[in-house]
Symmetry: C2
Subunit: 198 residues, 2 copies
């Protein structure tokens, strides 16, 4: 409640529902937008409208795209026979920012979860199986989060693909720039188990 | 950089400029919006458009409004002869949420600042002077932030109004529910100086 006009109140309520924003930060953001309404608010509304109209999911991999097939799936250069499996489009973006992987992706759209009744069919896993043969895939790289649900999902997919293709997963260990003193026990244990000869 | 389509990239860049959001939270917010684009993104774009078209500043007090004069200035009930001076519309909203003040407001739009070259003319202070006579004001309540700039501005306005109307300011002291152990020295000093007989 802000005693603001109804249009502004509505906008604040909608903004407050975005992840990372609450009622207070939504009020601040909206006031900021109103102060610079010519410069910010109208263009932002237009940008949202443009995305609302064009955004869709890549039918092949689940990436966010403006066409039925995303640029990565459409590019012949990225048909390396490797598919990197991620939970989320945000993870795909993180991998692309690193700029080290040149194959294609498969976005699951979440993790298996008995609690939330999310099974393989909710997760684009059948589509992954189809792609193995359709795209002559030789290696599936599991880049799932190092959480319980993420690792459960990784094991499930590894089981399903057993014998068909090479299945690998991202290495676990000390992050670059990480200080041992600040790392959790699990990470240190994983890093020690996976130690390498120099 | 996210390797996302241009429309989405643009939207993320614009969202990242909002106060309280950075590149990472903007990406999360935009992905959330895209996932629920029918339910969230299009309506949010429409809500922003509605505000962009209707929002303006009250010509009298500087409040955010959808008409030239805001509902508070337009209401005869609020012509109590008291004007509460605030820095910002967010402060006006905070006062209204408390629901205790029944007079009108005057939104300065900032504080005096020699560093940023903000003088009285940038701050709607001349308009405040005009309102004193035009609205038969008897008391000006300075509800400015307890910062150096806020208090400098309060002193300046008090000087300008000296002899014309009663000028008061919000009491400083221990916040309700506040624990002494967590309060800064300045607040404790102010609370002690302004101690009351029980």
């Amino acid at each position: 409640m802000t005693d603001a006009p109804r249009e502004i109140e509505t906008l604040i309520e909608m903004m407050a529902k975005l992840p990372g924003l609450g009622p207070r930060s939504a009020r601040r953001a909206v006031l900021h937008l109103i102060r610079k309404r010519g410069l910010l608010l109208a263009p932002l509304a237009d940008a949202m409208h443009a995305v609302a109209v064009t955004a869709r999911e890549c039918l092949n991999c689940g990436n966010v795209a403006t066409a039925d097939i995303c640029p990565i799936c459409a590019s012949e250069k990225r048909a390396t026979g490797e598919i990197c499996v991620v939970e989320d489009v945000a993870d795909l973006w993180a991998m692309e920012r690193a700029g080290v992987f040149r194959g294609r992706y498969h976005v699951l759209g979440g993790t298996l979860s008995a609690l939330d009744a999310i099974g393989p069919d909710e997760l684009r896993i059948p589509r992954l199986m189809d792609r193995i043969t359709a795209e002559n895939v030789t290696e599936v790289i599991l880049a799932l989060n190092a959480t319980v649900d993420g690792q459960t999902t990784a094991h499930y997919i590894a089981d399903q693909l057993h014998g068909q293709v090479t299945v690998t997963s991202l290495a676990q260990g000390v992050p670059i720039g990480g200080e041992l003193d600040y790392l959790d026990d699990g990470t240190i244990t994983a890093a020690l188990k996976a130690r390498k000869a120099l």
